[in-house]
Symmetry: C2
Subunit: 462 residues, 2 copies
């Protein structure tokens, strides 16, 4: 039944070039993270324009055909998962940067543009597109919008939601909603774009966007800091926000266990600071005034060392040292080479709760498994931590037990089970911890309104 | 039929103290702007809690009773207009600041808190709530959220949408949606708050919010600048954004006609700069490093004078001078004492289009009326201009003609008929200029989903 009627209809309408059959699509990967896992789908549509996306959706809507939008396939929560019954739509051919408007500081970009390509084009034009994350070489702008990506500079420039000015979306029934607003302020009716940002392709398919650009930074200051008190890490963050003339762009916390792992053999990184501090902070600024920015940065470090707010600090003084410091924070794939299998989490919580939260999880994990590995680090400045847990197995019962330990303590402190990654398929069972029954009902109501047949990214999120 | 059954039901349920009858409500004003215009309504409900708002809505929903949410009654587009058939709900008794969280920099606030009171309480606690606008002494936080207020410092700190972290809302059927998120990043399911921010009370009644706080500024630098070229005003803005270490908080443009009006008798303001410049810019920074901030600010002015980017500049060097400079920009009520009646507009457009746009309007207004008065000024840094037009009459035909002249040129340049004020009743007829048929249909679909009986702020926006 694979080569069913609808696939032929799509081929007849869009041309053979735009529709890959199940067999043709199967040679492609299902995810950039899992080499060897092939794409399973009824067909893979490769539209070249919003009109083609609309045509595809009209046909699928008429046939009650489920559709899964695909960008760079970097999602880590099953948000792009397909079955043999789904039609996948990849935005990869809609990859044109349509306009970089230097005077109004905006870029108009199709959904299939790869983040790194956009960063480069904007930088070549003398400006900055500030979204930055590990998957930038693969992830696409449409996916960044659908998943409301965060990343490494959200502290300074905001998450994706704050960078989107205008949006074009194709609804489940093929309607094209063009809200291509270029303005900072617009109160003319409901701001529809927010429905689609962060809703993981369940309410519409993002096809185009107008994004805010920033001035290219002229200064970058980076240091790795060692601290023995989490309270001090909070105070140091507050001091950094106050005293760095709004240049603070990253404030990344690393718990000792992760630091030790990343700076000990077989890791190739040596430790820039001794391995005995309880916490490490990678602090970075991006600014416009090199001299002033550096002075303020170094003053902050010196004063914080003097008054005992921080215990140690080392500046990155070359590109090599930048790569080294950032590598320790960012090269998380190293964890997977040492431990297998690994459960990966991405929670947010008030920074005042972080210390207790991590201690609680650590204790509970150790109570359950003797030789569990547990690593914590993340965007402390954004209230967002990444957690890695490895306890030997990854069967469903183990997964559930680990999730329970990580997620349950979030509810009483008003935390969220996902700051960046989203819900996808994998976290659906826990969504009720972060959202009330009334909120869930309203989400379902919105889903039913915008996608009455439930064909858009089925079973994800709600 | 005024004292109908439903009013008695409300009294029986909530107590006499919480429900004013038509007669009791009539002594209250319908708007802070129009003294002497009395409040017309079937009854005025004064709930003390979200639960009471919910009870009221359940009764109104069951009885198909229309409801108009009221805050500080400072809306200028008919967004709080009531008829004798409506029940008004004022949030004025829900005016508690529940928590100022200094460590996480958030405030939890009920909808009826007056903006100025919130600003003061937060300042007393050593932080800043950055929303600031002319009506701050009357407007309430719930209204600021429902109308997505902008104001004088949006350039630096964002509009209200960017300041809201968590929201509690009562739906048309009385359901309480509590999304009291405290975190900067949260991707657990749809971000429901954005449905209610800026939708002018047509989708739900805001009852409580968690708002982001900022560090209190330690420096303030202000200058009035004269320029003869709009192109230079754009370049000067770009230079200010680049060279002031992110402290730029206001960039207000004033066209010559408005400057001359505000600095000539019978106005009590004398002109800080000669009256013959084509444009004036009121530029202000708020920062954390007094010495650096002032140096950068003065360097920018000196260099811009030297290289001819600006033609003249004067620094505000005392509170008196601050009041003077800002008074010229802000004391718009003076216009109403000189001209009557006055039509008031609040448009947004790309800054590169502003010069032509204002010229076009001026020409078209003069072609229509010989002695028309036309004043333009506003938040240029946000792409947002306020326009005042007075042409002798304010009958419907005149109003329509003026609106046509102001609004029609916005469509081809992708502008918006309202940046801050919203649609309310008064701009509904023109919404189609800023939004497509498909967008309007989606707005109506959302309205029907959330308010199937159309009882919430009826006939507003959609």
């Amino acid at each position: 039944m694979i080569n069913s009627n609808i696939v032929q209809t799509l081929i007849d309408t869009l041309g053979k070039d735009s529709i890959l059959t199940h067999e043709e699509a199967f040679v492609r990967p299902a995810s950039v993270w899992r080499a060897g896992e092939n794409l399973q789908c009824k067909a893979l549509a490769r539209p070249k324009s919003p009109t083609e996306v609309s045509e595809i959706m009209k046909i699928c809507f008429a046939n009650n055909q489920t559709v899964v939008p695909h960008g760079g396939l970097t999602n880590v929560v099953g948000g792009v998962k397909t079955s043999i019954d789904d039609i996948a739509i990849t935005l990869e051919r809609m990859n044109v940067i349509e306009e970089i408007d230097l005077r109004n500081k905006t870029v108009t970009v199709q959904a299939g543009v790869i983040l790194q390509d956009l960063q480069k084009a904007v930088a070549d034009a003398g400006l900055l597109f500030p979204l930055d994350l590990g998957a930038k070489g693969s992830c696409m702008i449409g996916g960044n919008i659908s998943s409301n990506a965060g990343g490494l500079q959200a502290l300074r420039y905001g998450v994706m939601r704050q960078l989107v000015l205008g949006l074009e979306v194709v609804l489940a029934d093929g309607t094209i909603i063009s809200s291509m607003n270029k303005m900072m302020k617009n109160n003319a009716g409901y701001d529809l774009k927010h429905l689609f940002i962060g809703s993981e392709g369940t309410l519409g398919i993002v096809t185009k966007a107008i994004l805010k650009l920033e001035d290219a930074p002229k200064s970058r200051n980076t240091a790795l800091v060692g601290l023995n008190s989490f309270e001090n890490a909070i105070d140091f963050l507050h001091q950094a926000k106050k005293n760095l003339a709004n240049t603070l762009s990253s404030y990344e916390i690393i718990w000792q266990d992760y630091y030790q792992l990343m700076t000990s053999s077989p890791s190739t990184f040596s430790p820039p600071l001794p391995q005995n501090y309880a916490y490490y902070v990678l602090i970075e600024t991006l600014g416009q005034s090199p001299e002033t920015d550096t002075t303020l940065f170094q003053n902050l470090l010196e004063q914080s060392l003097e008054n005992g707010l921080i215990d140690d600090a080392v500046l990155a003084q070359s590109q090599q040292e930048l790569d080294w410091f950032w590598g320790i924070r960012e090269k998380v794939e190293f964890v997977f080479s040492v431990h297998k299998p690994v459960f990966l989490f991405d929670v947010s919580l008030p920074i005042t709760e972080m210390e207790n939260y991590i201690e609680t999880i650590k204790t509970n994990l150790k109570n359950e498994w003797n030789d569990v590995a547990f690593y914590a680090f993340g965007h402390m400045g954004d209230g967002n931590l990444h957690l890695f847990v490895s306890c030997g197995d990854d069967d469903e019962i183990t997964r559930h037990k680990v999730e329970e330990i990580v997620f349950m303590p979030l509810q009483p402190i008003g935390g969220s089970i996902t700051a960046e990654h989203g819900i996808g398929l994998e976290k659906k069972a826990w969504l009720h911890l972060s959202r009330s029954e009334e909120e869930m009902a309203l989400m379902r109501m919105l889903k039913n309104t915008l996608d009455p047949k439930g064909i858009l990214n089925p079973n994800k999120v709600v």
